[in-house]
């Protein structure tokens, strides 16, 4: 085949990488101010820039990074810092467990990379991809395309925060785009709307636990909401069958 032979149609898998990358953009815009804040925290903490910036690709989770950086600035015990990271990032285990079932046909390096990139917005995109009915291989590409864009964008946001962190006007509501996007995903999904009781329980428990220090609110809400949903399904005749 000549190199001049036109390619008819992009294969679904390669197109899905791009689709996932584009789908990630609203979430990346929403997460960007958080990354900038982390960069500004690194710059203002007095610690060396390299370990601070490296939390972006080693820990790779905004809440855990912020807690770690705050603890390092306060000279907290390493064990306390690790306990905080464990509590905050425990939800990532659940995310990977939910996504990994779809990754069995992929190569080992792909699965390790995909798991390493799991974080809240990536899980959002992954869940969307698998619910879209585009086929497992294409949905995997959709997930990884979005996850890679998020990872690159996150590192750049932290660098931006280190350089010009305090210049971003605090009045810009860009940080609220991500929660509004999450709400829109629930509101426009008929299956999610039908599960409103566990969702409401998760939201209320998260709100109640938000006054507890240690960033445990979302983890508590997710655990309670899933437990409520699991009990409900186990008790229903359909769930037992």
């Amino acid at each position: 085949m000549s190199i001049l032979t036109p390619t008819a149609v992009a294969p679904p898998r390669s197109r899905a990488y791009g689709d996932g990358a584009r789908a990630m953009l609203p979430l990346l815009i929403g997460a960007a101010p958080f990354g900038v804040v982390i960069g500004a925290t690194v710059a203002g903490s007095g610690m060396s820039v390299w370990p601070g910036w490296s939390t972006g690709w080693l820990v790779y989770g905004g809440s855990a990074q912020l807690a770690l950086l705050g603890g390092l600035a306060d000279r907290s015990s390493v064990w306390l810092l690790l306990l905080g990271v464990l509590l905050i990032n425990a939800r990532l285990t659940l995310y990977t467990a939910a996504l990994a079932e779809h990754w069995r046909a992929e190569r080992r390096w792909w699965r390790i990379l995909a798991a390493w990139l799991v974080v809240d917005p990536a899980f959002v995109i992954g869940a969307r991809g698998y619910a879209s009915g585009r086929g497992t291989r294409a949905a995997n590409a959709f997930y990884l395309g979005g996850a890679v864009v998020l990872w690159i964008g996150w590192q750049l946001c932290i660098v931006g925060g280190i350089v010009v962190g305090t210049a971003l006007p605090a009045s810009w509501p860009v940080g609220s785009i991500a929660p509004l996007y999450l709400i829109s995903l629930i509101a426009t999904d008929p299956d999610a709307v039908r599960q409103r009781r566990p969702l409401a329980i998760a939201a209320v428990v998260t709100a109640l636990f938000s006054v507890v220090p240690g960033h445990v609110a979302a983890a508590a809400g997710i655990a309670t909401g899933l437990a409520a949903g699991s009990i409900r399904r186990a008790a229903s005749p359909k769930g037992r069958s």
Binding site: L58, V59, A100, L180, S184, P198, A207, A218, G225, L226
Partner: protein, 106 residues
């Protein structure tokens, strides 16, 4: 204390939390409880994260101070339910948020 040991240990812990399910679920089928809640994980996580964002505003600025975020979230939910359009839901929420944020006294 140099920051590197804590950063490296926290990084190793975070990677382990992500990779653990790959190892545990590589051979056998997923556990029954995971299958039971599988379809619930995404919407429950979304609800918790959205709620956490609104609650964080309430904790830092008080209930009244977080009114723009709470009303924007309620608007996005209502418009999304009525219209079924994601972009309209987000846009409506943002309009409410910006409108209330720039209104003096809001």
């Amino acid at each position: 204390m140099t920051a590197w040991p804590a950063v490296l240990a926290a990084g190793a812990l975070s990677v382990a939390l992500r990779l653990l399910p790959l190892i545990l679920l590589s051979t056998g089928p997923p556990p029954a409880w995971l299958r039971r809640v599988g379809a619930l994980i995404a919407p429950v996580v979304f609800a918790s994260l959205a709620s956490a964002a609104v609650a964080a505003a309430m904790v830092s600025r008080g209930v009244g101070g977080a009114a723009p975020e709470a009303l924007a979230a309620a608007t996005a939910l209502a418009i999304g339910r009525i219209s079924g359009r994601r972009w309209l839901s987000v846009s409506a929420g943002l309009v409410v948020l910006v409108g209330l944020t720039v209104t003096p006294g809001a």
